[in-house]
Amino acid sequence: MEFEAPAVQLGAIGPEIALVTTALLLLIVDAFIPEGEERWYLAVLATIGFGVAIILAANQWGERELQLARMVAVDNFATFVKTSVAVFAVLTVWLSRDYLKRSEDEESEFYALLLFAAAGMMLMASAADLIMVFLALEIFSISLYVLVGFRRRSLASQESAMKYFLLGAFSSAFFLMGIALVYGATGTTNFYPGGGGEGIAGYLVSSAASDVDLLVLGVGLLIVGLGFKIAAVPFHMWTPDAYQGAPSPITGFMAAGTKFAAVATMLRLFVVVLYPLRADWRPILIAVAIATMLLGSVLAVIQEDVKRLLAYSSIAHAGFVLTGLIAANDRGLSGSLFYLATYGLTVLGAFAVVTVLAGRKERNVTLASYRGLFYERPLLAGALTLFMLSLAGVPLTSGFVGKFLVFGAAIQAGYWWLAVIGMLASVIATFFYLRVLVVMYMQEDDRGLQPAITGRLANSVVGLTAAATLVLGIVWGPLIDLAERATVFFA
């Protein structure tokens, strides 16, 4: 067997290398520093790592290449996702710093795992080969399994980590079986044609439409694996438990980052590579999207725990963003990107408010404990109001623009009825977002709920995400423009 050694183009995964190097550095440096010291430097080092990653990722804007043996796509699409994920992660680091401050859980592992998870999500966005997709998926999944169980004294945290882990590994097995079948059907795991192979995309163009049964079966199993990661019904069982038991900053990061990375892969895989096969995957995804939107919205209504409420809301949002994917047109692509970038910032903000109120002991997470919050902490209540309105999709918030874009794309593609179902689900969802507001404003409470965390970093995260939610809801042009330019694929 003869082959050439691939050219070393490590610049293609520069951001990921920066993150992984920082993580290793954190682990080793911390292992040599005696215990009992104030560990402020951990968050600083992590922030620097993410800063370098953002700069390296932004530098790739405008490039269009397949590198590292055609396994990694360097394009605007990947750059957009990578930059967003890094921003989510930096905000999570700052929030975690105040959350963990002076606790036994403030260890280098927490930040290192966060860096590894973010590196996996970034790699996922630029993966142009099913092997790469799997590796990236596992890098961030395994990191998140540990992070979910990081509250070592809490039974709930351990239980949610166990559930997340077992179901996650279960779904990974289905995902892998899907990859194996796709590989058997097409003879390749690479996405794009070129470099001596035709890739999955090339196979679909060249082959007769009749012998794709095995491929369709494989694609169906891929939907199971990816559907699990974005928390789509019926693969959503883990979501409420994992979200409730995890440390609140991590919950926010999971909602924002995991969803973005997994949907990015789905966009690249389904809308670009498997586009000729759309008659087969569309019906499956439509059924999944409808079930996800409706079930997520309906079950959120009966929740009494704010973290579980936001978990079901995140399930519903997975359904909304799937409508953009199902449209499979340019507007759907850029709309989904815009949707996920803004949703990520909003949901991070919402969980930041939950974190500030709940603290490391994760108290005051029931809806009832938010009673009269407005009279105690008007600013926090105001920020939470903004996040809830944005999640509900009220105009003048970023959530409205995102919903407008993905539903518009569905209508353009002829799926107006899907958009109607989406709007119906939004109306149901509005009910429970308003319930949170009613509790905060209309009901008085004399207990005087005080924030458990008063750090400047945590408050600045709330402030920044609130500002982003408002500004992107009014001046949406530049970000939409970026999202549109990001959908120029290598294809």
Partner: protein, 101 residues
């Protein structure tokens, strides 16, 4: 040996794994069943790889990656099992019911 024999074997192994995940109560046995599913995938990949001959290298490499990642997953899984056992004295999946709905 026809390819279909191996694929049927892999499908059977995979199904036994799925059954094990759904039916077993002990967390370690669930983990074992998941490993069974991953090994079914490995058999599939190797079979396809041999069948495709010249273009079959990715399949073999992929199987190695799956073995490595599965080891990492088992590491995390056993660590979680130990952590939970220390606090609860048992690791039945049915017992993980602090949170519902």
């Amino acid at each position: 040996m026809p390819l279909s024999y191996v694929l049927v074997l892999a499908a059977l192994l995979f199904s036994i794994g799925v059954y094990g995940v759904l039916a077993r109560q002990h967390a370690v046995l669930v983990l074992l069943s998941i490993e069974l599913m991953l090994n079914a995938v490995n058999i599939n990949l190797i079979a396809f790889s041999a069948w495709l001959q010249d273009t079959g290298v990715p399949g073999q490499v992929f199987a190695l990656f799956i073995i490595a990642v599965a080891a990492a997953e088992v590491g995390v899984g056993l660590a979680l099992v130990i952590l939970i056992y220390r606090n609860r004295r048992n690791v039945d999946v049915e017992g993980l019911s602090l949170m519902k709905w």
